[in-house]
Amino acid sequence: MSLILILEQSLNGLQFGLMLFLLAAGLTLVFGIMDMINLAHGSLYMVGAFLAATLVQATGSFALGVLLAIPAAAAVGMLLEVSVLRTLYARDHLSQVLATFALILIINELVRMVWGTDMPLSAPEALAGPVQLLPGMPYPAYRLLIIGVGLAVALLLYFVVAKTRIGMLVRAGASNREMAMAMGVDIRKLFTLVFGFGAALCAIAGAMLGPILAVQVGMGENILILAFVVIVIGGIGSIRGALVGSVLVGMVDTVGRAFIPHLLREFISPAFAGAIGPALASILIYVVMAGVLFWRPQGLFPARG
């Protein structure tokens, strides 16, 4: 197990974690501010990816297509909020889970009707190859771009939430909704805005991951669960928690998948290690989550005081 290998796998983990963060950030805000479980968040990620694929095709430019997809997805998100989700804020969590689960089915089928089951989306030609990071360590250029975009968005988000008026309202809403309302914050508008913002972040994640994974119906369902794990670990409503949780989950998942089978081989037979290694790696994330909840039932960075 060389140092370069460890470094490369850590970059992979970071790349995955940062993309998770884009999903988790929107989810945690919606969850924290509106006290709303939105399973359809993964659908917005899917819609964002499909929009990006379409717009990249239409404009012939990857950057332009992705940039256009972001406001388009935000518009879809706000439309969804105004039409359906708004009525769910007052309902219990069970109703929210079910209604948004229904939305997953509906959006999946609508996407299939509009676009079909999948869309091609490739990384720009210039970034299709590797970049020599260190001697003997080439790394895919496109994955570096993802890391860059992820870090940039995280910084931007920090700035918006910590330094701007909107961010202040968001923080106020997350830590004490009633008080914020009493202070005269127009909650309805704020909610719609936050929702659109979350959808925009989803679209960035979907567009960036599209070329690596695949732009397909149902792509949001498994990653959604990971995003939930992230925000529960990080503490609901906390952007900082979402960042820490995302990178933690990304690292644990990738590093676990890469090294656990090899580590196990040192102790038990290769066949058995090969059998339980991948499972152990997949379970690890949930073990971490259960552990965090057991000792810190509000997550690592509780937003509510």
């Binding site: 995955f16 990384a123 590797p130 250029a141 690596i212 994974l213 397909q216 090969g274």
Partner: protein, 392 residues
């Protein structure tokens, strides 16, 4: 009391059936279950398109009988395929079942056909258990035994003198079959053998391990979208310069070439069929398929076409009397026809015996990326399990 009621009910059903004898085979009912959606769906779509084209170009008939075809999408889920099989057999009362792409899905659905004594003609999945001890008289294969491409690939890697090879396959029966097949004919060192989750799409972690292991060759069995993603990511990681990527024939066929593009050039694979195989049936098939669907056929399409040809030959030999299932089964077993890869021949376990070819991805005269035949790896090759099958 209950027993009596059942007896009465059964009695009336018999009387009912006797009063209206099944109008002797005025049509052939075929149930076609396949994976048509999800990223893995391109394979099933190719099989279906070739299968329906064969029927359409035959005047909507197979073996002289008008075909009533019911097509269902299993959504890449075994339980859905199983329920569709249940429905087609019991509700629609099909004469023949076919279509499934993936072994794991087929293994869930096919007992339904075996129990009902309905022939299942497999246009793709041909898992090793059903070739050996669990071979079944109602199970026919028009494709190739799951191991065969991999055995051919292993033979090629040995012939070429690769000292170490890294193996990757998804964690399911066909994946295990594939690597077992490769190893059966590969004499070099196995650098590592990795099983990934079925349907995994990001291979960053695995590719980093491959780079660290520095093998001469990398053999992957990753059907459908998994392979498309893997090859793209393999090239993006810059591994293609030092490591020869080898795939089974379907792993670098038209359905993979289309989305991946020029990165595929020079990739080596093994298959029982190729676009340029020189025989009349194949020429007709390739030309018609391209005309009909404006794309080149893949090996899956060829298999779908052969499946239709086999059913056609069997039903023809019965002169359309398909209601006798035992006779239909025997007719399928004895079906004589020219397939897209020459005369078709079944082994005693009802898996085919055929040639396997070495192919390389290159450009054809029109500049399109296609698989070109380099040579023959195996002649009249069967499978390693046939001696365990009690069928004669």
């Amino acid at each position: 009391m209950k027993r009596q009621l059942i007896a009465i009910a059964a009695g009336s059903a018999v009387a009912f059936a006797a009063a209206f004898p099944a109008s002797a085979a005025d049509k052939l009912k075929i149930g076609f279950i396949s994976t048509l959606s999800t990223p893995a769906g391109a394979l099933g779509v190719d099989i279906r398109d070739a299968f329906t084209m064969a029927i359409k170009h035959n005047g909507g008939k197979l073996g002289g009988l008008p075909v009533e075809l019911t097509v269902g999408d299993d959504q890449f889920k075994p339980e859905v395929a199983k329920q569709l099989a249940e429905k087609y057999i019991r509700l629609d009362k099909v004469d023949i079942l076919t279509g499934i792409v993936f072994s794991n899905i087929m293994l869930a659905a096919v007992p339904e056909a075996f129990n009902a004594k309905i022939p299942y003609v497999s246009p793709n999945a041909a898992p090793s258990p059903l070739a050996g001890k669990q071979c079944n008289p109602w199970f026919f294969v028009t494709s190739w035994p799951n191991d065969a491409y991999h055995e051919a690939a292993g033979k090629h890697a040995t012939d070429k003198g690769y000292k170490s090879t890294y193996l990757i396959a998804p964690n399911y029966q066909a994946g295990k079959d594939s690597l077992a097949g490769f190893k059966r004919y590969y004499k070099g060192k196995i650098a590592d053998e990795v099983y990934t989750k079925l349907g995994q799409l990001d291979y960053a972690a695995e590719l980093a391990q491959v780079r660290a292991a520095k093998p001469d060759a990398l053999y992957i069995f990753l059907p459908g979208g998994m392979g498309i993603n893997f090859i793209k990511q393999f090239v993006a990681a810059g591994l293609s310069k030092d490591i020869q990527l080898i795939t089974p024939g379907f792993g670098s066929d038209q359905d993979v070439i289309r989305p991946v593009g020029d990165s595929m050039l020079g990739l080596i694979d093994t298959a029982h069929w190729a676009l340029d195989l020189d025989n009349a049936v194949n020429k007709k098939f390739v030309a018609e398929f391209e005309k009909e669907y404006k794309r080149l056929p893949s090996v899956f399409a060829a298999q779908g076409y052969d499946t239709a040809l086999m059913i056609d030959a069997a039903v023809k030999s019965l002169k359309g009397k398909v209601e006798d299932k035992e006779a239909l089964r025997k007719a399928l077993k004895g079906a004589k026809f020219e397939s897209t890869h020459g005369p078709f021949k079944l082994n005693t376990n009802q898996y085919p015996i055929q040639n396997y070819y070495l192919r390389v991805v290159g450009r054809d005269t029109q500049g399109r990326l296609v698989n070109k035949t380099l040579g023959t790896v195996f002649k009249d090759h069967g499978d390693a399990y046939v001696q365990d099958c009690p069928m004669k």
